[in-house]
Symmetry: C2
């Protein structure tokens, strides 16, 4: 029997996708849902679960041990809490005393993973290792390829997102006719797309480029798109979406591709080291 998986759940669809995958594979799992981030209707009631505040690391570790979890996966987004919101317990405070809150998300997440593996003896695995068939493949998905203008916007977007990624900021940018309409920081990709929808409300075209950050702790945070991303992109009159092949989770892939085809958007998995010129 495979090792029991602890799913540390934040917001969005990814926790539900992982729960589904465990049930389908008859793998034992236990959900540790983060209060204020995980969504109860997405977690459901099928699988055993505990709910904790993000600041209660001591409690969280107790729950994982009591459930006899061996491997842990982080799934879903967690809005970074302020210190006052966090109300850290002793275990959390000891961890935070290492000064990790002063860095970017990557540094913080890598610190959490190290702590759980080295100090607590869990093994932390990436969602992508459990969901390999959900990773974006290389090349055009669906029926619409990017045209030459789109590739120009993709190349510019890749350079911008990579420059930001080196600073541990965001994962996405929107580019239209060479102009960078918006760049993602903490607001998330949906908010980025919605904001760009109001720039020149009559203009069409443009590309959402979403990449993993260099050095990103992929075991905790993996770029994800789903049918909602396509709907938002269509509402913003974009021409399409480019994601990193092999490093982006596609949620609801069949629906995602159908939605893109229906709305006339391209959807392409790119290798940033090998873009068409």
């Amino acid at each position: 029997m495979s090792r029991k998986l602890g799913i540390v759940a934040g917001g969005g669809d990814l926790p539900a996708v992982l729960i589904e995958a465990c049930l389908a594979a008859r793998r034992p799992c236990h959900v540790l849902a983060l209060e204020g981030h995980a969504e109860p209707d997405k977690i459901g009631t099928t699988v055993a679960q505990d709910w904790v505040r993000p600041g209660a690391a001591g409690k969280a570790i107790e729950f994982l041990r009591a459930a006899k979890v061996e491997e842990i996966v982080f799934a879903g987004h967690v809005r970074r809490p302020s210190l006052s919101e966090l109300r850290p317990d002793l275990r959390t405070a000891k961890f935070l005393a290492k000064g990790l809150l002063n860095g970017g998300d990557d540094q913080l997440l890598s610190g959490v993973v190290r702590e759980l593996e080295d100090k607590e003896g869990f093994r932390v695995v990436g969602a992508e290792t459990l969901l390999t068939d959900l990773l974006a493949p290389s090349g055009t998905l669906g029926g619409i390829p990017p045209n030459a203008d789109d590739w120009g916007d993709i190349r510019r977007g890749v350079r911008v997102v990579q420059a930001l990624g080196k600073q541990d900021v965001g994962q996405a940018a929107i580019v239209r006719q060479g102009v960078v309409l918006g760049v993602e920081a903490v607001e998330g990709t949906d908010a980025l797309i919605q904001r760009c929808a109001s720039v020149e409300p009559t203009a069409r075209g443009g590309v959402l480029v979403k990449l993993s950050k260099p050095g990103q702790e992929s075991r905790v945070d993996l770029p994800t798109i789903g049918p909602k991303t396509v709907a938002e992109a269509a509402a913003a009159r974009l021409a399409g979406i480019a994601v990193e092949a092999g490093a982006t989770l596609l949620l609801g892939r069949a629906e995602l591709v159908n939605e893109a085809n229906a709305r006339g958007l391209f959807l392409v998995g790119i290798d940033t080291n090998d873009l068409p010129t």
Copy 2:
């Protein structure tokens, strides 16, 4: 008598500030206001003026010649028009045929300046050369200096804005406790601040860092802050604002400093090559 100055006016306060400066110095000037961008109530009626579409470069050059303008200053922001909005005349089309619209703003603006100087024989001057007493000095303005945490956020903001600037994107970022809350692209600084105000609505602190881009055509586009920037920053509960000394225009400086003091914000002119560690 000094050379006649042509003020090519976009949106915001800067055109009015330049008109005031010319009137005070008894320097002859003529306003070329860009329709859809320049604001009639800010341009006023005191000074002779023509209004043109941004796409009518041929007409614009005729107006400037007819008014016997010798030097030109660009002032105020111009939202980048889409090609369909632009309806380029022949002169504009010839210029655009050089492919400059495919690059970033810097490339486009440098192209406009080259065209006016080399092809049309005007001299293009920077607003900052006409308004030296409006440039941000080095050090704390007003009564409140940044504290050690603020300097940490300023340093992180400088690195992020410089990385973006190298990609010819934006001029500003907002950082709180080491976290980059938002990064500016085409939406402008006010929209950036407003967006960050809704991130963790109870949290306080953070810094707006606004810099010129490396290689920025300062004769056309100069970072600018005014009392409104301070009011927005206060509404977003920021701790203060850091701008580039010698390269940022402070509009309404007395009011700006009073507003910062009254709202408890610091305001500091920084040298990015010489930040306190």
